[in-house]
């Protein structure tokens, strides 16, 4: 089956109708997600500040570069929480619209093509990630971990990009699924380990060499590096490399998702 370029690329404007469709759905549930977006960072920061932070004390000074351990891990947890949100938004809700509610079948009968649907769906996730990241940044400001406007804006942008860098490839995985069994594997074998080994609680340099290399291939390590630099106002010489890796995952994932979604639906 050979597809023309126009069938593989999103239309300049049509994908936005998918975003507006998702917003119509979201309108019914946004209060709920507002609540969790507000509560989640507070729970994480309070729990760690009171618990782990006190336990670790100044013993981590060697790796934190002078800031408290909470201040060190808080921006990393912001990135990690975006990874979780991005991956789960790209899992069940995507599969449901293919397999259970089947609404994507109806959408592909309109002028929209497969790439429009994928780009629209992932763009919506990006919006939701921005929204959630803004609450997290507000909590970091409230706890005095982020102190500058650039820190707040920078962490919000880097966090949302980190979330999309997971949402896009997970979407590409979801569109190939017949049921949700594969998702448990993704979360247990990829998402959860990454949340520990991406420079979140300790520097990546403490990992054995090959593990370091793997960590740097995945998006979270780069999201953590960016968020930490923005939050703590530290220079980050390779910032553009981190952004480039995240963009590569986001754009590459969206492209692969579009091709696989088309293959799945247009038989």
């Amino acid at each position: 089956m050979s597809a023309t370029l126009a069938q593989l690329l999103p239309h300049p404007t049509r994908w936005r109708h998918v975003v507006s469709y998702m917003l119509s759905v979201y309108r019914r549930e946004w209060q709920g997600s507002l609540f969790s977006a507000f509560i989640e960072p507070l729970v994480i920061l309070a729990g760690l500040g009171i618990g782990l932070g006190v336990l670790v004390g100044d013993r981590a000074a060697a790796i934190t570069g002078g800031v408290s351990y909470v201040a060190y891990i808080a921006p990393a947890l912001m990135a990690s929480s975006a990874m979780n949100l991005g991956a789960s938004e790209a899992a069940w809700p995507i599969l449901a619209r293919i397999q259970w509610v089947r609404v994507y079948h109806a959408i592909l009968a309109t002028p929209l093509n497969a790439a429009d649907v994928m780009v629209g769906a992932i763009a919506f996730m990006g919006g939701k990630l921005l929204f959630t990241a803004a609450f997290f940044a507000a909590a970091l400001l409230a706890f005095g971990i982020v102190t500058t406007p650039l820190g707040a804006i920078g962490t919000i942008a880097a966090t949302a990009l980190t979330g999309i860098a997971f949402a896009a490839p997970v979407t590409a995985f979801s569109v190939t699924r017949q049921n949700d069994q594969g998702f448990a594997f993704i979360f247990r074998m990829i998402i959860t380990p990454l949340s520990f080994f991406s420079g979140t609680y300790f520097p990546i340099e403490n990992l054995p060499g090959p593990a370091q290399a793997i960590a740097w291939l995945t998006p979270l390590a780069h999201g953590v590096a960016l968020d930490r630099a923005f939050a703590l106002g530290r220079p980050l010489p390779d910032a553009w490399v981190h952004v480039a890796v995240l963009l590569a995952w986001a754009i590459g994932g969206t492209m692969v998702a579009s091709v696989l979604f088309r293959r799945r639906m247009l038989k």
Binding site: V101, H105, T110, M265
Partner: protein, 312 residues
Amino acid sequence: MPNPSNAPMIRARSLTKRFGERVAVSGIDFDVNPGEFFGFLGPNGAGKTTTMRMIAGVSPRTSGELEILGGDPDREGARIRAEIGVVHQQETLDQELTVRENLLVFGRFFGMDRKVIATRADELLELFQLTDRAKDQVEPLSGGMKRRLSIARALIASPTILMLDEPTTGLDPQARHLLWDALQRLKRGGTTIVLTTHYMDEAEQLCDRLVVMDQAKIVAVGSPRQLITEHASREVLELRFPGGTDSLPTTALEGIGDRYERLAERVIIGCENGEAAHARALASGLTPESWLVRRSSLEDVFLRLTGRSLDE
């Protein structure tokens, strides 16, 4: 529009679709004319849904020609899909939205203006008797209502062609008749309608013209009346043998009518006069448990053409 009013809306020549080794549609030819109610009749697996999917631009053909509204659905997909409303066999409504929101959201996919969509949505809710339920969620609706909502949604952008895949499967008789009435009204309004069905009565009631499909091929084309006249006798005598029909002597069956089909527990006899044929059957020593005489239907056409009954 590159479609002069007399040209067919849909034109297929040697249209073929293969899935690996399996041939789902094998070199079929048909034309659907403007304003026509056109049907694909056949058992499950005959290739009807695949044909519909090719027309709707969501299944690229393997070979052959397919022209819809003057264009190739594989190359001008977006333009053609904008002119076609599709109602899928399985439900594809968004359960998280209300009845009316389902229509509003869908209009956006066709790039319609929000105000125009709102007006059109209210018209359609009225037409399909869903105005009372406009603000309700989709889930508690009955099967018939959901199906009407699916059709209303497919009509949001006022398509030139409406396509329905098995629209009344799973509906109770009253809901079916309500739906048939709605479709007749649409046809009178000038919409070209293409449907697939495995219900004979549905095809007979609704279609101006239809093709009978079996095993990936078209086995007959015409209006329901033409097909019956051409492929079936005037009346049908059905003899019922609950003990099976294998042991019945062929010589006895042959003399009764113009032709006969031996099914598992029934013998179907095509004839001019059913009463007279029944008398001949008894005279030749057959002892059916029960019998009936009826006018020939599309079911008999199908049986004649394929040697199988549709529900087998």
